[in-house]
Amino acid sequence: MMEVNPFIILFASIFTSNMILANFLGMCSFIAVSKEIKTSLGLGQAVTFVVTGTTVINYLIYHHLLVPFGLEYLRFIVFIITIAAFVQLVEMVIERYLPNLYYSLGIFLPLITVNCAILGVSLFMVIRDYSFIQSIAFGIGSGLGWTLAILALSGIRQKLQKAPIPKGLQGPGITLIITGLMALAFIGFSGIVSIQ
């Protein structure tokens, strides 16, 4: 694993190992916030930023604190705490110094705390034994992949607003079916590169 080029990891985590479409992680906000392209894009940007930031922090904590003391089994609780704190800090900083970005993200920023894709990236990073540079590439790629997926879904859902959907399938029902179809379509990329 160690010798995989970071650029391949970046590319693969966007297309072949997409967090949503290959691993089905981060579904809650993916389904809840995908009604409009604009808000989806905002959330996608925030997720990309947070996932990259937390991957870096978690890498440093894991390899320089947990591994030396042989406490790898503590990674779940430690990762969750750092993610929550990071999101909180990011929210405060953005609210204070980048009010425009804060206003465009709105409520979606704090929601990222409980996005499982973010914890997923930190855990995969450990399982796949990535180096520091590889982890950064993996973080950025996963964030971009998540953004790509939610943008595609919101585009489809905007079109669907005019479609006659059976009552029982409206809302989350049809969204899950669409997600499944999108995942099938993304299998088409799978021959290009593989990281898992």
């Binding site: 808000t39 904590i61 604190l65 947990l66 003391f69 042989g70 406490l71 503590l74 609780i77 430690v78 705490i81 750092t82 704190a85 909180q88 800090l89 405060m92 900083v93 609210e95 204070r96 110094y97 009010p99 425009n100 206003y103 709105g106 409520i107």
Partner: protein, 369 residues
Amino acid sequence: MYTILITVAIITGITTSLAILLTLADAYIADYGEKKIIINQEKEFIIDGGSSLLSSLVSQNIFIPSACGGKGSCGYCKCKINSGGGPVLVTELSYLTKDDLKNDIRLSCQVKVKNDIAIEIPNELFNVKRYEATVETLEDLTNKIKLIRLKITSNDPSTIEFKAGQYIQLTAPPYGNNSEEVYRAYSIASATKDIHYINLLIGYVERGIVTTYVHKHLSQGNSLTFTGPYGDFYLQNTDSEIILVAVGTGMAPILSILYELLEERSPRKTTFFFGARTKSDLFMLEEMEMFEKELPNFKFVPTLSRPTEEDNWQGNIGRVTNAIENLIDKGDSTREAYLCGGTSMINSTVEVLLEKGMQEHLIYYDKFD
């Protein structure tokens, strides 16, 4: 033993450093310092920045009407922000109309005070206070409408000053399946000189949270809180002829207006059109007789939309608009009308009154759904 200690130490260390980091961030990054709120270009308040405009105003004893208590789910706490409010938030959008957006109207519970902020609120709101009260009497007027009389028990303020026609917001405490405080607006039905009490007419609405509370759970002696008075629907001080129109509990503000006219011994020509379904839905008839006797120029016109056989009804039949069609003559553009009732009643009545040659700005109304 060593492992346990090191585990605890590491987790504590990480958590503590993050907590310290966040506390420092909260103290330095999220510290907006003292900010100024300028209201209507005259009043100025200094408050600690960072919290919502609504709660900052409450801390200065200014109560903007709010039904949800600042959760951004009712859309009542609108106010005009001239500067310092920042861009409109996603959470506000669903409550703001196009006109609101054009006129810088915002939801005060969502706007955080991060800069000096200049707002405009109706002057009446300075008069709004929070009252504690107990239920003095509770009386069934019809099988759906209760008259509830509240005695103000708070010391400051111990009296209420309002204009005839204004409303208050009544709070229902958590009860049954309903776990939060809920506020609803009710017009004051008592006289303005009755400063230690207020009367409310509360109709029973199926699954209505506050109405169910009042009808099923409230009894004499219980305590309640309310804020008020609110509203720009009140009797204007002129000499013009008055047309009053109400259905159901819409009689409340009209009663207050009639008491006001009685207090002034007003010679103004006044006609009160009141709509109900059957005779059993009529109420306050003795009160109306009293007004007809005491006021030199007052007429009460009840009209029933569906009188039953037993009612043996001799009066007007149909909707209030039919009665207005028949009894009001065209002309005299100085007349004032005060309407209180549901949206469809108000809309159709306004139409009829305009046909009768009334001026739109002299038709005042209080809509409820």
